[in-house]
Point group: C2
Chain length 119, copies 2
């Protein structure tokens, strides 16, 4: 079946959450948002492109930092309201310079830092 982004369920703002997972390690790296055009650009270019809600602009991941995400596989969930992109991540995914944005755990009621910024 041909994929048509119009068959996805977007929020009232025209967005859909996209989870980025490291295709090699399996680590969940980050979650950001795409709109229909960002999805089309991601599939066409093979470079993961989000929609920045704060800047209201396309966000080609790594365009300024060099920490690009090369698309390895693009997946849709059962409800068609969430995306999973498997990526080849160059450098850290997080703007704090950590490998993953999910570097804080909650254990026994306290926050624990799991990762330090990479050098």
């Amino acid at each position: 079946m041909t994929f048509d982004p119009a068959t996805l369920t977007f929020t009232s703002d025209g967005l859909i959450p996209a989870i980025a997972q490291d295709a090699v390690s399996g680590d969940v790296l980050m979650m950001a948002w795409m709109n229909a055009d960002a999805i089309a650009r991601t599939l066409e270019t093979g470079r993961v492109t989000y929609w920045s809600r704060s800047r209201q602009a396309f966000w080609v991941k790594g365009e300024s930092s060099g920490h690009v995400q090369k698309l390895v596989d693009f997946r849709i969930d059962c409800d068609r309201d969430c995306l999973l992109v498997l990526v080849e991540q160059t450098g850290p995914a997080c703007h704090t310079n950590r490998r993953s944005c999910f570097y804080t755990a909650v254990r026994e009621g306290a926050e624990v830092e799991l990762m330090k910024p990479v050098e």
Copy 2:
């Protein structure tokens, strides 16, 4: 630092997305939503509990199906607006009886089914 759910960023509906990842295989299983009370229940009981937007009620994952999620680790992202729960998943996570909700890939413009429902 003591964890306080009030320090998280919720949507205007009081919700935060929660990604569930299989703690053993690393597979991303599903994405659903929690509110502050669902977070508290998840941490207190060790059974992953979402907020069902359609039913407007707590959704103790697997309560009716038996396909429960035992909490292994609870993580927060850098922006504090997304959660990652590592889980021990009993049975399939998806309501379609597939291991993961992300069973559809988009490859060369076409949708490809990656997983069949488990027997």
